[in-house]
Amino acid sequence: MSEARWGGLDREALLGLLRQMIEIRLFEDEVMKLFQRNLVRASTHLCQGQEAVPVGACSALEPGDTMTCTYRGHGAVLAMGTPLDRSMAEILGKERGVCAGRGGSMHLADLTVGAMGSFAVVGSHLPFACGTGLAAQVMGTGSVSVCFFGDGTTNIGAFHEALNLASVWKLPVVFVCENNLYGEYSPIASTTPVTELWRRAASYAMPSARVDGNDVLAVRAAVASARARAAAEEGPTMIEAMTYRHMGHSRSDPAAYRPEGELERWMQHDPIATFAAALPDHDAISEDDVEAVRHAAAEAVAGALERALSWPEPEPRHRFDHVWAAPA
């Protein structure tokens, strides 16, 4: 019940974190249902179980900061403040979607809130994050960029090139590895000879740490101090957040490759349930407050879903828009 336990956050802020996590959880549940109803095309990569990572990390950012993430990025984009309805609309391929239906589930972006993009080629956004960092550095804006990626991503070349460049140029970037133990259907040990991925930062003389990725306040604290370092022009940091996805990799993957009991063990350590159970320890927070947040989140998602479903699809004749800013 000490100040420290709550990361210096007040009642509103704490309930806000809970609300965001619950909204993301319910949002993803709805996306799954929409996918099963064939209203989401192709594939979708959900993040139930991992909510504490984007919510904790993005809560540590300041106005003007930016974020990049992956195809499993709904949570991260929402954590930056992208509206629920326009995010859902994008996943439904609607004209009022954040990307006007051009991007879809794997490419949510909302530059107005600093959500610079969800990238669908593994590792491709880590170099991009260096670019946002370079711009901040050259223009002296003091802003910082957080970049989310998975455990499997630490094996691809772009990861290596980006961390090296960010370090040698002291770019203001926080690299957050969401280690959910699997890359698609492959357990990490089958593809990666080390299991403590935070140690890979040593190759770039980059400070790094591992945190409990299901503890929203722990993630927040780690990112906050990395952010401070970056803003002080001391360079990038890598954080490995240990977490777990409740669903399969994508689509209707039943995740049969999981060892028995693994999901159940992680369910015991669900980031939302844990946080919701802890919050009433706070002097100013009651169980009713938590219930009220649950309720408000559910209403918000339901309303967003209804609006998104009601919006029209893009007009085929507008398909030539947005390719070039200035077609010759």
Binding site: G101, A120, R319
Partner: protein, 324 residues
């Protein structure tokens, strides 16, 4: 081989038959092993041939292609999978600069019996980075053979031929075709030979993969209108069987190419340019290219459907070619 099987099963069978026939054949790629591939196109092979010969890799396409190349010149006949064809972008150097040029640069010291498989194509809503037909990225690169199977029969025949070929071959599977059914028949067509899929006298229609099927539907419709289409599937675009196409244009006088990719720098333009240069006098009217719009593949159904050539657009395009 008389039962109809799916395109997916044809891929599995081709891989299985080659793994069976030649112990130098190995299969590597992301989740091709225990999981049987994200498109389930390697299902059962890991159980059948074991983890030494059917291996999961890290997410590292440069490593996959480089390993295939190195192994190919060291005694194996490896097959690498690049899951979505779009990811060829992250290992493009390995394919076009290393694999394609290795034999030439060495002055012919070795053969390079390497095969890559990758799943391309749109119409399913995978968005701009998971829907491309990337075969044209490789047209500029001498040293590669490029196969585009449209049917289970070709998926089987071309993939087996690719693995047995002593040069690097890329087999582009089309993800919207994995579920189609057809019979495996050995028509004896090698890599480099086009297939005349439908004979006709009014117009030569050249089409690959998903567009071959749509072109065939359009040809059916047009037949009812009294227009007789000769539909040719080149099957491989490097080498390109220009002789078969020129022969056909020689008796139809008209040429329409239908492809899923945009026009600029495509095999469709290659066919048209080749016929214009080498068979100008055979043409009674301007050729036509029915292609995707010059825009990325959008996620939204309305946009993607409008972007890719539909049966209607193909039929209309052939009609105007006939009327020209």
């Amino acid at each position: 081989m008389s039962d109809a099987i799916t395109y997916r099963e044809a891929v599995i069978r081709a891989l299985g038959d080659e793994l069976e026939a030649d112990e130098r054949v190995v299969l590597i790629g992301e989740d091709v092993g225990a999981a049987g591939g994200v498109f389930k196109a390697t299902e059962g092979l890991h159980a059948r041939f074991g983890g030494v010969r059917v291996r999961d890799t890290p997410i590292a396409e440069q490593a996959i292609v480089g390993t295939v190349l190195g192994a190919a010149v060291s005694g194996l006949r490896p097959v690498g999978e690049i899951m979505f064809a779009d990811f060829a972008g992250v290992c493009y150097d390995q394919i076009v600069n290393q694999m394609a040029k290795y034999r030439f640069q060495s002055g012919g010291q070795t053969t390079v019996p390497a095969t890559l498989r990758m799943a391309g194509g749109g119409s399913l809503g995978f968005g701009a980075q998971h829907s491309q037909c990337v075969e044209n990225w490789f047209l500029q690169t001498p040293g590669l053979k490029l196969c585009l199977p449209a049917t289970p029969a070709d998926a089987y025949t071309l993939l087996r031929a690719a693995i047995r070929d002593d040069d690097p071959v890329i087999v582009f599977e089309h993800k919207a075709l994995y579920g189609i059914r057809g019979e495996l028949r050995d028509d004896g067509l090698p890599i480099g030979a086009a297939e005349v899929v439908r004979e006709g006298g009014d117009v030569t229609v050249v089409a690959t993969q998903l567009m071959r099927h749509r072109a065939m539907e359009a040809a059916e419709q047009l037949a009812a209108e009294g227009v007789s289409c000769e539909v040719i599937d080149p099957r491989t675009i490097a080498p390109l069987d220009t002789a078969t196409i020129l022969t056909s244009v020689g008796h139809t006088g008209r040429l329409v190419c239908v492809q899923e990719a945009p026009a600029a720098g495509s095999w469709g333009q290659a066919v048209i340019a080749t016929v214009a240069v080498a068979g100008f006098e055979l043409l009674d009217a301007q050729p036509a290219l029915i292609a995707a719009d010059p825009i990325p593949v959008a996620y939204a159904r309305t946009l993607e459907e409008a972007t890719l050539p539909s049966v209607e657009r193909i039929a209309a395009g052939i009609r105007s070619a006939i009327d020209a």
